[in-house]
């Protein structure tokens, strides 16, 4: 019944990227690409360098070597905040919400990049600043509606349970209307039902907005069902890349995962 999703050209290319922290190699010569509109997973046991990879993509870490090309623009070094303005949004493994702010404010913060009125207009509030604010409120409300977090709209996020905080974080990332969404273990610490919900949201986001999704998980089983292609990292090196079935059958992947505890 489902229509074929449209998967476009390469949107992100990671070329020979290495990352080292004072002699410790976190990533070694990683190369892979992500196509527009696909759900791409990076998996691997704990400590395989998945988060480091994500941190390189969005400019939080500067790769020691290699080039990352996003939407045709190559850069080996970039400021952290630039990634956001180029259309990359992300969530974090250990929720990085602004705990003192409400759900709505957190989601609105995701749209900050798009808000341009300077502080003088803002200090007046009425007029252009208000118009801008209300426009973006509307957009934020659409995201809130999409992720079904209406009932916690005005709750301070610090008081929310874990699962909901994860959802708010996704909402904040989504509010930026990114071209590419990086999800760092979106299902970590969730029970089965919450994981199912999260999967549905991820697929819905991909469907509804055509957002390219790159996600990290160490639990293989969850991602296999929702990913188009999977990269497998182990000890900072790429050991496999391909569609879920190929990856599942790959001997190196099986070895890497053997003895690794799943939760």
């Amino acid at each position: 019944m489902s229509q074929e999703r449209r998967i476009g050209d390469v949107i992100l290319k990671v070329d020979n990227v290495s990352l080292a922290f004072g002699g410790v190699k976190a990533l070694t010569n990683i190369t892979f690409d992500v196509c527009e509109g696909e759900v791409r997973s990076i998996i691997g046991p704990n400590g395989a360098g998945k988060s480091s990879m994500l941190n390189c993509i969005n400019g939080f870490y500067k790769p020691t070597e290699g080039i990352i090309t996003f939407k045709g623009e190559s850069h080996s070094q970039m400021e952290t905040h630039q990634a956001a303005s180029q259309g990359i949004a992300r969530t974090f493994q250990n929720i990085a919400l602004f705990k003192g702010m409400t759900t709505l404010d957190n989601v609105m913060t995701g749209r900050n990049l798009k808000m341009r009125k300077n502080f003088l207009w803002q200090s007046l509030y009425y007029g252009p600043a208000m118009r801008e604010e209300l426009e973006h409120r509307e957009a934020a409300e659409r995201v809130i509606d999409f992720l079904e977090i209406e009932s916690i709209r005005k709750t301070v996020v610090g008081r929310l349970p874990y699962g909901l905080q994860k959802r708010v974080e996704l909402a904040r990332a989504l509010a930026a209307e990114p071209d590419m969404l990086l999800l760092d273990e979106p299902m970590a610490g969730m029970n089965y039902e919450e994981k199912e919900d999260m999967c549905r949201y991820i697929l819905d986001v991909n469907d509804e907005f055509g957002t390219t999704i790159v996600l990290i998980e160490h639990d293989m089983s969850v991602v296999m069902d929702i990913s188009d292609r999977v990269v497998v990292l182990d000890y900072g090196q790429k050991i496999a890349d391909g569609d879920p079935d190929e990856v599942r059958a790959n001997q190196r992947v099986i070895d890497a995962y053997l003895g690794v505890q799943h939760d």
Partner: protein, 311 residues
């Protein structure tokens, strides 16, 4: 051109002109630096163990010195007076734990900081009510004469102070490294939960650490008070110690010591050689500026490690 001359050439020429004098200035700076280290040490101890930026450290110095002077004025023998003062400081530590710290567990650091400013007022008020607010002379029998070593003039009081401070630092280092209480203190600094789980009562730790820093304050009080008289302005030496702290790091004992010495020397040298160029009275801010500039290039401080931020 003239600016270049006043700020960069003339001072250097002055130094080269009289290396002995320069040495004297440096030694004087080291002496003063030891005192800064002493006060900074008080800060560091408390910060390490309880995460409190204790602004009242200066007031504790004043309070300890006032108490000592008050006892001496009432003809209590010196040794006994010191012991009694120490008992008072332990009592104070006990009260602080009981009525303040205990209720502020898990609060933001700025709240704790503000609370110690409140404490500062209490110390100031209480000390002066108890012992009056006139400038008092504190004479604990340290000779004040100067002597010469290889052409360098050294004040024996300063030397005594420096030696005392050095001894104190040594004792504290041993206390921290070798005794079980010391190890417990370090455990608390690293991780409150872990410390609790090995069965060390946090309260006790806090009382001990505040007592120790009360003791440090007493020593600092004797030294500063003996030199300049016991008066309200002793409170302000806390402000002297702050640049030391940002230079050396809030949590580093060696940082406090080396930082104190550095600041002391730097301050003296700059005052002597650059002071006139600025029109004098630069000691109020020069150390701050120096520490600030240093931090701009090395945000982790003297002994800190480069932080890798993770998300």
């Amino acid at each position: 051109m003239e600016v270049l001359n006043t700020f960069f050439i003339a001072p250097v020429l002055d130094m080269a002109d009289s290396p002995i004098f320069l040495l004297e200035v440096i030694i004087g700076g080291l002496m003063a630096g030891v005192m800064y280290s002493l006060v900074a040490l008080g800060f560091v101890l408390i910060y390490k163990a309880s995460g409190v930026f204790n602004y009242a450290q200066g007031a504790m110095v004043l309070f300890a010195a006032l108490t000592l002077v008050g006892l001496l004025d009432n003809h209590v023998p010196l040794i006994l007076a010191i012991i009694l003062t120490m008992i008072v400081m332990v009592g104070v530590a006990f009260l602080i734990e009981r009525y303040m710290l205990r209720h502020l567990v898990n609060q933001a650091q700025i709240i704790l900081f503000m609370a110690t400013i409140g404490l500062n007022f209490v110390f100031e008020g209480a000390g002066q009510i108890a012992w009056g607010s006139n400038v008092k002379k504190l004479d604990v029998g340290i000779p004040e004469n100067s002597f010469e070593v290889g052409g360098v003039l050294i004040n024996s009081f300063d030397l005594f102070a420096a030696v005392t401070a050095a001894v104190l630092v040594g004792v504290l280092a041993i206390f921290f490294q070798k005794t079980s209480v010391g190890r417990a203190l370090r455990a608390v600094a690293d991780d409150h939960q872990a410390a609790l789980s090995v069965g060390i009562p946090l309260k006790t730790i806090w009382i001990i650490v505040w007592s120790v820093s009360g003791f440090v304050a007493l020593v600092a009080g004797i030294m500063w008070g003996g030199k300049a008289g016991v008066q309200f302005s002793l409170v302000l030496i806390a402000l002297k110690a702050l640049p030391v702290l940002i230079l050396g790091g809030f949590e580093s004992v060696p940082g406090a010591i080396i930082g104190g010495l550095l600041i002391g020397v730097f301050e003296k040298v700059s005052e002597v050689y650059w002071g006139p160029a600025f029109g004098g009275a630069i000691e109020g801010w020069f150390a701050y500026m120096a520490a600030l500039v240093f931090l701009m290039f090395r945000p982790q401080g003297l002994f800190g490690e480069k932080i890798i931020e993770r998300v």
